[in-house]
Amino acid sequence: MLDNLQLLFVYAPVMNVQMLLDGIFIGAVFALAAYGLALVWGVMNVKNLAQGDFVIMGGYIAFTAHNLGIHPIFALPFIAIVMFLYGLVVYQLVIKRVIDNDMFVSLLATFGLSLFMQQVMNLIYGPEVQTVDSHMYIMTMFDDFVTVPTVKIVSLALAAVFATAIVIFMTRSRMGQAIRATAQDARAARVLGIDTNKVYMFTFALNSAICGIAGVLVSMIWVLQPFYGIVYSLRTFAIVTAAGLGNLPGVITMSFILGWVEQYAGIIAGAEWQIAAAVFVLIGVLSWRQVQMRRQRQVVR
C-alpha cells in the first residue's frame, strides 16, 4: 500500500492524469444511470434495484446492433427508443402496481425484475463476456503513458449532451414541468389536472431510455456480462443516496467522485478493493447522513 502511494505521488505522478481522466469518463456513465434513478426515486418513490440491469440491457442491444454491422453510436437513438418502450411495458406490468405501496415492495419487486432480466440476457447472449469495438482512434499523451481512447471522450460528450437535453426538457417542456410538479407534490399535481399515472409512466420509460444510453457507452468502453448489472445498481444507489434526489449537479459531482474513488482504491489498496470501494462509499454516506440527522434529532428516512 505504501509503495503504491509512493508510486502514485513520487515516482510516477503522471499516473494521476490517467486516473483522473478515467474517473471522469467512468463518472460520466455513472452519472447518467444515477440521474435516471434519482428521477424515478424522486418522482414516484420507486427504488429501482434493476437499474444496473437496464444499463446492461442497453449495452446488449448495442452489441446486437454491432453484430448487425451498425455502429452503436448511430444506433443510439434507436436503442433509446427501444429501451423507452421496454420501460413502458415494465411500468404497466410491474411498477404501476408497486408505486403506492410500502417502500420496501418496490425494492423487492425490482430485485425480482433484476433477476429476471439477468437470466433472460444470459439465455440470449450467454454468460461470456462480450465487447463492442468502437473502431475509434486511441490518443496518447506523455510519451504514450496516458492513453485516452476517443470513444471515451465521445462518451463524455454524449453524456453531457444528454444531461443538458434532460435539463432543458425538464424545465421547458410541458411534460417536464408536469414531472417536476408531481415530484414536489403528487396530490397537488393531481388537483391541478395533471395525469400523474401518465407522468409516472413517462418518467419510468425515460429512466429506462437514459439507462439504455449509459449501456451503449458501457458496451463501447468496458465489457458486458449478464450479471454485471448489480454492481452498477449499487453504484447508482451510492451516488443518489449521497447526492440527494432531484439534484443534478450533486449527482454529477458524486458520480465523478465515485469514479475517482474506485480508480484510486484499485491502485492504492489493490484491484480486489475496487468494487468494495463503491460499497464502502455507500455505507460511509449512509453513516454520515445518520450522524448528520442525529444532530437534527432525526433519522434517515
Binding site: R294, R295, Q296, R297, Q298
Partner: protein, 248 residues
C-alpha cells in the same frame, strides 16, 4: 411553592429565514394544567416540537426537572417522564386495543417493565381498567385501526395514562372530535390531573376548552410570547383578543 417541571428560557428557532419562535420563555408548574394558545402559524407547534425533541433549537435552553433536554431525542425525553400525544392521532393500528395499552407501559428507568416480561397479569388488569376509564372497555379486543377517530383519540389518551408520565403534553386533544364528546374528554383530563397527579400541558385552539381546563395560559403570536396568566386575565387582555381577531 410548587416547582416548575418544564422551564423554557429564551428559546429561538427558525426554519430557513422564517423565525418560528423568538425568545420564548415559559414554565409549567408541577401538578398544574397549563395551556398554550395562539392563532394558526403562531409557533405553538414549533415550540411544542422543540420541547419534546423533534428538532434542535437555535438558542436558549429547555429544562425538564432541572435537566437540560434541548439536545435529547424524543425517546430519551419520553423516558424521563415527559410524554406527548399527536394532533393526528397515532396509535398502533394493526394491534388490538389491549395490546396497544400493554405496550404503552412506562419505560422509565426503575419502572419494572422488562423486554421479555409476560403480557399477562397485573399489566393487563391495569390496561383494562384504563380502557374502562376512557370508556373503551367493550372495544378492548378490536383491532385499533378499526375504531372511529374519536375512539382512537381516547385510546391514545389512555395509552398515555398507561405510561404514568410525570408530564403529558397534548397537541390539540379536541381537534376533530364530535362536540358532544368534548365535555367528557375535558372531564377525563381533569380527573387524570387530579387523581393520577399528572401535570398537563395542552396546546389548544378551542378557547372555550382551554379556558375551562387550564390554570395558567400562555398566548403566542407571530412566534413571540404575547401574554400569559390566568384564564380570566387573558380573556380580557386586548392583545390576545386582537391576535385572535386581528387576522394576522
Amino acid at each position: 411553592m410548587a416547582q416548575n417541571v418544564i422551564e423554557v428560557k429564551k428559546v429561538s428557532k427558525s426554519f430557513g429565514g422564517v423565525k418560528a419562535n423568538v425568545d420564548i420563555t415559559m414554565a409549567v408548574r408541577k401538578g398544574s394544567i397549563t395551556g398554550i394558545i395562539g392563532p394558526n402559524g403562531c409557533g405553538k407547534s414549533t415550540l411544542f416540537n422543540s420541547i419534546v425533541g423533534y428538532h434542535p433549537i437555535d438558542t436558549g435552553s429547555i429544562k425538564f426537572e432541572g435537566q437540560e433536554i434541548s439536545h435529547l431525542r424524543v425517546g430519551d425525553i419520553a423516558r424521563l417522564g415527559m410524554l406527548r400525544t399527536f394532533q393526528q392521532t397515532r396509535i398502533y393500528t394493526k394491534m388490538d386495543c389491549v395490546d396497544n395499552m400493554q405496550i404503552s407501559v412506562s419505560q422509565r428507568p426503575g419502572s419494572n417493565s422488562t423486554m421479555f416480561a409476560s403480557r399477562k397479569g397485573e399489566i393487563r388488569e391495569r390496561a383494562e381498567h384504563l380502557l374502562e376509564f376512557v370508556g373503551l372497555y367493550s372495544k378492548r379486543n378490536l383491532i385499533s385501526g378499526d375504531l372511529s377517530f374519536g375512539q382512537q383519540k381516547l385510546l391514545e389518551f389512555a395509552m398515555a395514562l398507561m405510561n404514568e408520565p410525570k408530564v403529558l403534553l397534548l397537541d390539540e386533544p379536541t381537534a376533530g372530535i364530535n362536540p358532544t364528546l368534548i365535555n367528557g374528554l375535558i372531564n377525563r383530563l381533569q380527573r387524570a390531573n387530579e387523581e393520577l397527579g399528572i401535570t398537563l400541558c395542552v396546546i389548544e385552539h378551542n378557547m372555550r376548552v382551554i379556558m375551562n381546563l387550564a390554570s395558567h395560559i400562555y398566548c403566542l403570536s407571530n412566534g413571540k410570547m404575547l401574554a400569559d396568566g390566568k384564564p380570566e386575565k387573558l380573556q380580557n387582555d386586548p392583545r390576545v383578543v386582537d391576535a385572535y381577531l386581528g387576522g394576522h
